[in-house]
Symmetry: D2
Subunit: 357 residues, 4 copies
């Protein structure tokens, strides 16, 4: 379905080149001050056309709230919002009515539904992530009241990656460069790589690392709605995501228990751990440490080179993509990863709260 969350449920709608995209955020707590400037600022972080390394489409992505807010505060009723599709150049996509773009969802949508809005990828366009960022901004406003913050950054672009764990970086520097990488030197390398790749009409993948601070111990519903499972599901629901790992992740597979266990100690009266290989989640439940995880993105499938493919009828053709596309989706994916994280955390906060008598 096009919804995510149990108590805080986001339902999204809209095709890339239809009338509008939008969402309904249901279950959002009442009485939260809705800082529309903050929402707008978050939207700008995802917006196309923000720098030389992103697509030159100039979508305004102006959010219009339709319900659920009264005199500046949430009312506890569904918050609906829409983003009109203004700058759509559908004729860029005329040749996609019949042709299946490689590694896009065109073919499978036809298999599943027998019909599809081919313009700009229709429902499968990453444009839908704008809706997530808006909803995530609202969730962040509620989490802020609870002392919970969520911050993500680009930790890899192509073969260039940060060597250290998030604790080695000053995350306040993330927004200082277009790549959203806290290491200025690496950021410059990444930016150069993206521009090179763009010049070649190609695309490149990368990794986003996300950190949530201030999450209280106890969030996560065993056994099948573990916090780690919810985060994994939410991340894999983002376009182009191919992998998820939390804590020491895949590296854990190579290790020994005696080295990786997070040893508890008494930290001045408070129970704490000497390391955080668990990534803040043990047995699927937050333990009060920072939560951190990594999300792998594949290179954007739309390359500006001629590629062979087939049409709906099976005819083999050569396809040359037109339109304006991102050479690397990762910098703009940073706020999307944060948004999904915020939605998951607020949902789990409420799930946990419900049962505390």
């Amino acid at each position: 379905m096009n919804s995510i969350g149990q108590l805080l449920r986001l339902t999204t709608f809209g095709e890339s080149h239809g009338t509008a995209i939008g969402g309904v955020l249901d279950g959002f707590p009442a009485g939260i001050v809705i800082d529309e400037d903050f929402v707008r600022a978050e939207m700008c972080r995802r917006r196309p056309g923000q720098s030389a390394i992103t697509t030159q489409r100039n979508e305004q992505d102006e959010v219009q709230f339709l319900s659920g807010i009264f005199e500046g505060r949430s009312t506890g009723t569904p918050i609906a919002f829409m983003i009109a599709n203004c700058n759509s150049r559908s004729n860029d996509y005329g040749n996609l009515r019949e042709a299946y773009r490689p590694s896009h969802a065109d073919y499978v949508y036809d298999c599943k539904y027998g019909i599809r809005d081919h313009r700009g990828g229709g429902r499968s366009s990453a444009r839908e992530t704008a809706v997530r960022v808006c909803a995530g901004a609202l969730a962040k406003l509620a989490l802020r009241q609870l002392g919970i913050s969520v911050l993500a950054y680009t930790s890899q672009v192509g073969e260039i990656s940060l060597d250290d764990n998030y604790t080695a970086y000053d995350l306040s520097l993330v927004e200082n460069n277009a790549v959203r990488c806290p290491d200025a030197v690496k950021a410059a390398e990444m930016e150069k790589l993206i521009l090179d790749v763009k010049r070649q009409g190609d695309t490149v993948g990368g990794v986003v690392t996300c950190v949530a601070k201030g999450v209280p111990a106890g969030l996560g519903e065993p056994l099948y709605d573990k916090l780690s499972a919810s985060l994994a599901g939410a991340m894999l629901s983002i376009n182009a995501v191919k992998g998820f790992e939390y804590g020491n992740g895949f590296a854990a597979a190579a290790g020994r228990g005696s080295e990786q266990n997070d040893i508890f100690f008494n930290n001045g009266g408070k129970i704490a751990t000497r390391s955080n290989n668990s990534g803040g989640i043990q047995g699927g439940i937050s333990n009060g440490n920072d939560i951190y995880f990594r999300v792998a993105f594949k290179p954007v499938a739309t390359v500006l080179k001629e590629q062979p493919t087939v049409t709906k009828e099976g005819e083999e053709i050569l396809l040359l993509a037109r339109g304006r596309h991102d050479p690397c989706v990762v910098p703009r994916a940073v706020p999307v990863v944060e948004a999904m994280t915020a939605l998951v955390l607020l949902d789990h906060y409420m799930l946990d709260k419900a049962k505390r008598f």
Copy 2:
């Protein structure tokens, strides 16, 4: 919650050392012949004590079906089953009433619930995965009728890993060795490593690779119940799992779009792709290719060495685990990964079927 699935929903219950563990599989289609021998064989693949490299606990794991089966066939009503806890040596765990084992769920359960059954890890014990294997065996029986098969194997133990993709191996050999690795040479190395680690009272992690064949194109519900998202959530719900990737996964981050795209061609009248970097899933929907993914397991947290920790009251103590534990969970996790995959695929098959008018 303790349930997974939308139309095919497994609800599990039980603590490691309580009366019984078990599950209710609701939504299972009617009329499927229940091959109890097959279920038993699957249970044996996960059972402790099956070889020198697994724990020496000798749990029988005898499944008793309570409902939903009549004269050998499923009736469409909930299939409940239980597995009595026979061989529980609770006194092995007396010292765990107060102490928090490092990197276990003891501490977070106390944070969340204020009470826990400390014996053998209680609800957070991996013993619960026996229930998953039983339910997964039933799902496999239904999938078999649809021509869908699921097979997993050990692709990494500690620093020893298979170099190639699943297509390079003969997967019919997986059950030929205790490690469940299709490469006999690597299997022997892995087995040796596990025994070494065991001798040192330590544990080691690993990776399970899973392949599903015969999945028709069209499974997966955009946007938030993508097949990839459901698989990720299901895998991260398994104890000790730290990461998930499908297709070329994290390696995709380093690549270029022009190299990674799966080019469509006309394969004798049928649309096919020249590569399968997508892992059989595009835009969250199966495309008819093999589905494959990898699941990272951390080393078992229980090491047979003295470790510092704290008690409930914050007292710092040294803890020496007793009991019989796996030095490496991966070989026994193989059928668990398969089971969760089977449950997800059957659920998605039904979700897709529902809407085909």
Copy 3:
């Protein structure tokens, strides 16, 4: 939550005097021709201002589809739609900011949320039912392909009620009068009663009877999603509804089993029943007979007479409602009951279909 349905899920949003009301219909099957004229005609049946016996508010209730439809057919993606709030006279409601209208939801919304949009009842306004009618119209289009029809009518207004079961009436006559009653004589009496009551500044309740024909045997998910339970829940979700009964309903309580049992017989090779006291549902599952049920509506709470009440601060005041209100909601509730029925039936059709291998 503000959603209903499992596979076909309607999520609604909007306050009476906010920017817009609307909905997202997710899970709707692909490829259905969307007859917008039919949708518009259904909306007109619920629209205010359609006759002398309804409120004189003149809302256009123009539906704007935002997504999920391409070249006149559903695409399987969420169908979002909105209805702008044009003719809202919010100053009619200025005195309701502090005062609690008797038997309205004002007080409980304040208890629950601590904040409310008081204008026109905000979220609790019956205006939300316009969204249901739109979604229900879409569901009817899909049901029509399956040979399933849904028809409701007014069977009671105040003390005037139809004496017979639905089978005694020609239901094609329902739309011939403003009351939506198939018995022209009773309809005239009902209309006169409504006008009398209106003149007195009062309101009156009534009953809607609904009949679904062509429903195949087998719909309904035991035990907690019985078709009867889903219908009851859906009907009780409509504003002002106080009761639900199906088949012979409350009258069954006074009867004997030997008289009420529906006796099976062989009707020319087809199994049929000699009576239909079960209302087409046995054990929660449709049996192929007509499904029929009755829904009780209380009199509209807004009377145009001075009523004592209290303010938020507990001050006792006299309140005189302004604005334009329905003296009897039942005629306009007829299409709402149909809409909810259509949504429930289509959802159950898909739930049943999912499991038929």
Copy 4:
């Protein structure tokens, strides 16, 4: 599905003459003292064979808890329990393998599933309600801590009904007679009627009225999970239920708004209403008044008289029911109605709590 509830979710399983029936209650709050004597006492209220007016089957209905309770308190993990089927005389049902009992679920189960356990009605047997009573007893224990109580009684048997609203009776007298009616004179009449009907081999219907006291204002989730809608759905999920009404229910249809509105006043500093026609629920949300509603039960379909029917193959036969059956289900349904009410209220309490920041 065989589950009910969102945060507090009961999943039930089992056939009348299978190995066992049982349930899993998931989401139950941790730390609640489980008074097993109370659970047993509640089970006895529903148990067959408790008086001359109920079936003479002597099922022990001994509940065995399998999980979720540790040292006498709930742990927050799923509470599973089972009730073995001991006293099943399956040969009473041999002739039902082929024949469809009138107004039972035999026929529709065959339509839906193509297979059924015919013994004793299988899954559709009212025996399943024992599971509900057990889960409801647990919910009552949690509600008790919150000051919420639930009490039901028989308000009608056949043509004999109580004339007044629940407030006219001393509900502490309900358990003083076998019928569970607080009016001793009417109770005697009802009992006589049931015995007469039994002697004739017939059955009779009735009505259960239920009252919940101490429910705080604010429970109920607009718009589709209204408290009234959830209660209606839960009641209609009980075997043999044909109708539901709350507050003045169907009688409201005949009334005027000016008479039925519940006028607010300031009751010594607290907002209260002068009447309670709303039944404690306005706009789908509890308002702090007593919640009351009525549930109609049809006569038990199994009469001890010969009835015509058809077999699976369409052959017309005469069927004479054997076995031991209730002439009137209402007295034993009283605790079932209470149980479902308790489950709904606790679920809604948690849903509401989740969002109160």
